[in-house]
Symmetry: C4
Subunit: 243 residues, 4 copies
């Protein structure tokens, strides 16, 4: 519990939310042994907080690390950080309003990153996808790649693909979503997966698929923000009874 | 337990059924953190009963609210009601024989609301779909919408789309089913999802799909009513051992 | 426990197997609140044993009933029997070597009963399907039907469709499999579902699908019989720790 | 616990890993009551270790057997071994660098063994498939077969199909993957299933599918080796709390 002293750059509430979020995402199978969630520090400008390299289902408060604006651990923390922490740092740099980020290998989303079909909002729960779901093609930035966003340059390129959107797909790898806080980022990670699953299934029927209009997407995104406390309360209760 | 006094317009049995139903629908993943079930009051004409705005898995007797014919909370109850309570109120108004209603974002049903394929009874468990599964297009009633049925006008329009059917799909949103009591509404919500899942899968095979005839649908609906006590007993037992 | 006296026409072992089988099939989601398993009596010729009308997950030894060759309860047993017990009685009559029968609404099997695609053995676990999977069309026998096999005549017609096969599909309803004992009938119910699921998925790929040859089906069916004790031991252990 | 004496040709750590691996694979539904994992002995050259014929979820240290280079039990061990132990022995013979092997009936993989579509790496977690996924057609080696690799000749033929690859599909049967240790073999069995599932789903979208390049496959395979400890830690914890 040494990490939770007064110098650790995250409030008790943010720490608790990040721990709960890791377990929630694992329980919903949006994350398996891989993937991560981070939050912008609410105590030290230019820092963000995420777990050391660890399966999300196992994360506790003591596993959280503070990373600086360049995605490097603060001095004195020698623990192994996630290789892909640059995803988070570079998005925080380019998107000042983003407060939390989830990177996952979300199963149903993968097919949309490797084909010509675009992921679009098929129902109001996925409304936040209205702003677009660009695909990050790592080959354009590094031909000899291993798919991983393993340095600041690739992180910056990913942030560039994301642009002003809420979600970016990563070809042959996964996806990254952003939110105005931990609950919204979790919500969006879960419903990106669900929206993708439904869109895949809808292709079995007689099209074309009628997606949400941009206006519906915009309005529904706002409406969902207003009821976010409801799923968040449930999800936290579902993981609190567990180790 | 203040709500369960003599003035609360629902019998002990109806209250217990509604609480069990919320948890059953969550356990069957017909509802997640969203969606709701209501029942017409068995004690006060013109009223119906449903939970306050809360994830269905968490509903207890104390969370139930009584709503009037216009879907507004009875005087003195200041708790936050579901935005979409108008779905329920307006269907109770237009369909006097309906005693319970489920509104869900049932996963396999969504694709049928956004494509040109009609949801039809593929096996006897979905027989009640024989009466038709119209699609409610909210845009026809309100262009600047957020998909939600958030007032009496939209509720009335939805009830109009439902007509005399047992199930209405809601484009880009979900579905609503009705029943002659809580067990039947739960049964229908569960088997609308299952029927949709099977119909989606059947599209992978060489068609055309042979659906139930209307006569089979009618007869099988009646037969299923006769054995409804069997699943209801199981489902209640499955959720009673839980919080 | 009155049923387990010396006059009940089933050995202790057969009773235990039937109770375990009901729960195994529910746990594997081959049965939900519907469907049933029976076994030919090992103590009284012309009788068979199955649960009273009850969800399979809830069956205990005390719920078992003995039924006569015409599928009627033995004198003195006034409990409600399954409507479709005639499925069992008429197959036992026409197939003397059959010792156990499962009737289910197995999800992945339904599409094969309502389309023109034939269910065939896609891997060795479904080898027993090599003998054919005829589809029972109840309309040919009773136009004004509710899909249910609710009398001896329909039971006989179903047994006629089954013929010498191991599995018969029932259009718009489900399927029935037979075995040389309770473990084999359970095995076949589980792997009919699994084979159907895999065959559905294989239709997403570039065909044609290479099924088992009849000779492979025959040999593999025999081989699977030799290792049946292995899954049976596992499945019983999985349900014994539960109520 | 007689097997864990000093003469048993496996270290305590290898025994523990094999037991955990059996349960991990069962928990991930890569194995059901069938299939097996083995490891090359770390104490006696030419030997390998695997469970006696038993459902993987039930395997304990006492169930492990040592088999010689010809896949036969060491003298004095009269327990029933798996029929298909020759899969393991012949691959260990032909591939000296392979230290562990999993044989499964992995559900999503089956369709790729019976159609003309090739299983290829759709995302970095399945990168190890870049080396190819040949299909073993047992009919070419034995016309009167029951699909099982039940002797050294068939084992050698399977090893021939595998060649230098990491994964071989077996038509109408399942698949076999190899690794440089128990954790890697487990990882590959799990992500072969997942990769196959995602590739099946991607066929619902507008192709062609962009797979990993060979170079990406090679680099990503190496990268995944570097983080293998993370899932392995999680998976072991998930099965240790269970019997």
């Amino acid at each position: 519990m040494k990490k939770r002293n007064s110098r650790f750059p995250a409030s008790r509430m943010l720490i608790d939310d990040l721990v709960a979020a890791s377990r929630i995402l694992a329980r919903h199978e949006v994350l398996d042994a891989y993937g991560h969630i981070s939050a912008r520090s609410d105590r030290r400008p230019g820092c963000f907080v995420m777990s050391r390299s660890l399966a999300p289902a196992l994360v506790t408060a003591a596993d959280l690390m503070a990373l600086d604006a360049d995605s490097e651990p603060l001095p004195g923390d020698a623990r192994k950080a996630f290789i892909e922490r640059y995803i988070h740092g570079e998005i925080y740099r380019s998107r000042p309003e983003v407060m939390a980020i989830v990177h996952s290998h979300s199963a149903s989303v993968i097919p949309f990153g490797v084909t010509r079909s675009r992921l679009r909002p098929i129902y109001h729960m996925g409304a936040f996808l209205w702003s677009g779901t660009p695909v990050f093609e790592i080959r354009k930035h590094k031909l000899d790649n291993d798919l991983l966003v393993r340095d600041r340059g690739l992180g910056k390129a990913l942030a560039g693909s994301l642009g002003a959107c809420n979600c970016v797909l990563m070809r042959g790898h996964g996806m990254t979503v952003v939110g105005d806080g931990v609950p919204e980022a979790v919500y969006r990670a879960i419903y990106t997966e669900m929206n993708a699953r439904l869109q895949l299934q809808a292709n079995l029927l007689e099209g074309p698929i009628e997606f949400l209009s941009d206006e519906e997407g915009r309005r529904s995104t706002a409406a969902n923000r207003g009821t976010l406390e409801r799923p968040w309360e449930l999800w936290k209760k579902q993981v609190l009874g567990r180790k």
